[in-house]
């Protein structure tokens, strides 16, 4: 059946060609494809921040990292060398470009004062200073050096720290160093839940 169908097609083609006074020209046989949008972008190898498969991703940014060019992401694709994902990405990983380049990103420090009904802008240095004062006051107000039975405990039970799932090991180490040094016991992380 296939043969006869193809024969028919060929016949039709020839028939058409017979009338190709109305359609015959030597249109270029090659079509130049659209240029590849990432062909000159900078490549950065990274790791997807979502699940624990840790897919390798390549972040393509605009510019060749020359000083005057501020890189902006143009595309994110899987890293074909990565042994686990081998270039594949899930729908979340595939949409990482919109995670990096997203108009909902927070861009400046803000504070909500007691009783406030909206955010107020605050300078970084001001925020740091206020936070440090609050941390110190809260700690000093409640620090437990010895428990009821007289054992040294050196606890600060009134401050909690909750860490996120995308905090790097190095950052988490800094958390342990700073928070344990403050005496924080309520040190928890997405890892728990």
């Amino acid at each position: 059946m296939e043969f006869s169908r193809r024969t028919f097609l060929k016949g039709a083609v020839l028939g058409g060609a017979g009338f190709s006074t109305l359609g015959f020209d030597l249109t270029p046989v090659y079509a130049q494809t659209q240029s590849l949008k990432i062909s000159r972008a900078s490549e950065t190898r990274s790791t997807c921040p979502y699940c624990s498969v840790s897919c390798g991703v390549i972040i393509y940014t605009l510019g060749d990292k020359a000083k005057n060019a501020i890189p902006q992401v143009v595309h994110v694709e899987g890293d074909p060398d990565h042994p686990i994902n081998r270039g594949t990405l899930c729908p979340k990983g595939s949409s990482l470009e919109q995670d990096i380049l997203n108009d909902r990103r927070l861009l400046k420090p803000q504070v909500r004062r007691p009783g406030g009904t909206d955010w107020e802008d605050i300078a970084w240095e001001q925020a740091y200073a206020e936070i440090a004062q609050r941390v110190k006051k809260t700690r000093d107000d409640s620090f437990i050096e010895k428990d009821a039975s007289g054992k040294t405990v050196n606890r600060c039970e009134t401050i909690g720290f909750t860490g996120g799932c995308t905090d790097t090991n190095e950052f988490n180490y800094l958390v342990v160093k700073t928070m344990r040094s403050l005496g924080v016991c309520y040190l928890e992380n997405q890892a728990r839940v």
Binding site: S52, T88, R105, T138, T158, D167, E170, V176, E188
Partner: protein
Amino acid sequence: MTNGWIDIKNTDMMLIMGGNPAENHPCGFKWPIEAKLHRNAKTIVVDPRLTRTAATADLFLQIRAGSDIAFLGGLIHYAVENNRIAHEYLVNYTNAALIIKDKFKLPDDGLYSGFDPERKTYDKSTWNYEEGGDLTGKPVEPTPAKQYEQPAPHPAAKRAVPAVPPPPALPPKTAFDLSLQHPRCVFQLLKKQYERYTPEMVERITGIPKDQFLKAADMFTSVRKDGDMKKVATIIYAVGWTQHSFGTQIIRTAAMLQLLLGNVGRAGGGVNALRGHSNIQGATDMAGVFDILPGYLKVPTPADTDFAAYLKRITPNPAKPDPWDSFNYWSNTPKFAVSFLKAMYGPSATKENDWAFNYLPKADRNYSWVNLWNEMYEGKVKGLFAFGMNGVMIGPDSQKNIDALKKADWLVVCEIYPDETSEFWRAPGISADEMKKINTTVYRLPGAGFAEKDGTFVNSARWLQWKNVALPPPGQARLDQEILATIFLNVRELYRKEGGKFPDPILNASFAYTNPYNPSLTEMAKEINGKALADLTDPKTSVTIKAGQQLPGFSWLKDDGTTLSGNWLYCGSWTEAGALTQRRGTEDPSGLGIYPNWAWSWPMNRRVLYNRASCDLNGKPWDPSRRQVWWDEAKQSWVGNDIPDFKADSPPKDHMGPFIMNPEGVGRLFVPLGAMADGPFPEYYEPIESPIANVLHPNQSNNPVVKKYKTDADKYGTVDQGYNVICTTYRLTEHYHYWTKNNPMNVQLVPEPFVEVPAELADRMGIRGGEKVKVTSARSHYIAKAMVTRRIRPMKIDGKETFQIGIPIHWGFRGIAEDEDKTAKTLTNQLTPTVIDPNAYTPEFKGFLVKIEKV
């Protein structure tokens, strides 16, 4: 994961349960698919819903959420009954032959021996091995308890003056019966324990029809048909097992099943936890949680009056049958602990001041997640940092968390998107007047996204992989490490100027970074790996490491202060050869998917844990086609395609156990003493909110050691109150927690929240797909559109028709859809109960009771 993502391709049989890898780990799921394609591997999926994982399964069983132990216990019963067990493995690599104290009692009534009903805790002294020798073939009589010699304490422990009698310890020489016939040997106890988990019982509890259960049981245990050891089965799970009031015990049941079948340590085997996030494995390794210090060192308690006491408590001694050997790797704990304190406090940690041990807070109770919010709700916790953590959304009982934050003095949020936690004060339902009464000061600091930071993540397979910076943070956003370090150094400056309560640890925390206000993660990573503080020489090989050089591995760590290491597990990740976490070698000579030169995995680049167990007693691989490691007689050493997770020069004849992190050296079917809060064997308990009383022991329906919270916010529902539908929560593949609701691409894929409702239930209630429904629990309610589906079927639980529904967790009150008013702005976790697993302290997000109605 004991194994790794790629390793799953080596399996012959998969049980995927309590997890939905196709949806939550799609790129990892390619490896189960590879096993299917290239090994004809079969997949059994057990889940409350027909998920996208189940869509590819060879056998799908719909289970009642939370009844997993009954199912797995049934599998154990089936394997034992049908002799589908790995006998040699069982006898030699597990504690099946070890004999348990005669006072130990199995929980026929739901309680093990030693329960204290008032404190709701166990006295676990009977959960221990009998001391003695080889009882194989000997008459079965209870051996008299006798005083055994205390193990030699660690040198540092000599100064310890115990104020209270020491807690019971494992006997150094355990009694054993290699014929597994002794009625009190672990195997016989296990057999007895799971005798009650018959297929009929499984059907009553789980709702899985008996014939389907038997089909699954036959399929899964078929890898050990006729005692053949070549085939391997794997178990893959995720938080569908963790998030229960008995979550840890579900996982233990799976581990026991795998030990029975001899699947642990083998390529294509193991018990594989699919962690849900990019770096919560790392966060656990690095002790982002209250109960540990980096590298799983136990957190100090007030009883650890000095460093020696602490070491004595946390350093185990070998406990094994006398003829066997045990590596007992945790005996190196003092080296890890001292090196950690040196990393924390540098020169301020000296032998004289107990390595600054007192700088560390001593935890005397549970400071875990739910307790944190509970204490804040009670007004005790005054300040909270949230770095990329949306505690309001995560719950459980989100409303309680919102109300808790109202009582805090201050909240510092570092985020990249506007989130519910930082905006708790304007959560839906809070009026302008109420808002003015909320006195919490909230700082919201713009942090950096993943592409803007470097550093390492640890994946589920324990791989540490360095990622590079692609672009700078936008606007005024700053790097998280800069924010945290600057806050800390500002606090330090205040203490330096003004003094205050116990400023020593703050002033002396080692911050010798090039730019302490913005420490580079490279420097942090090198410090985590550790370096020599003095010239070190290995007496065996005469290799020397100069002071200041990076350490090549944790075997170099010392307990005399001459080494420093932020986390012993990661020691070896950034050596003098550079960052091994940045390696990009793509070669895999064995074809087993080991990729030894890609990045670096803990411990010491081993890709499959306990891989000694992949060989028989003589050190030959069980399956010659999947050779991971083996004993090389000529070299008198363990060699292989993977790094042997074993003492390299311990010959098979020494019978050293492959489970080197256990004092026994063998895998634990029975968990002695205090490692588990709720029993040495898993026992089936009902979820806190359950439609039926426990069929096994109606008088002890729930996990006996689980405590409910007692504030006015903590409410628990029953069927009598009308909460007659079982509800489970989950993620969708198109979304990631509370993050992608800010990503228009993902919002496009799944634009709105929904509730999955079985078609039969929908018919009964007159609900049609797309109509809004209200789901109410004892805590609160949730409103979303109904997805009416046949993928969830009605089920018979103990003969009673029961329905389950499911709710994805992704929507809150800030997000693209939310800001466009396309959702009801209710949070899934407003429904979930405040109850936690007694071992891992994880909340019971799955399997709680609700009622459902049309809006």
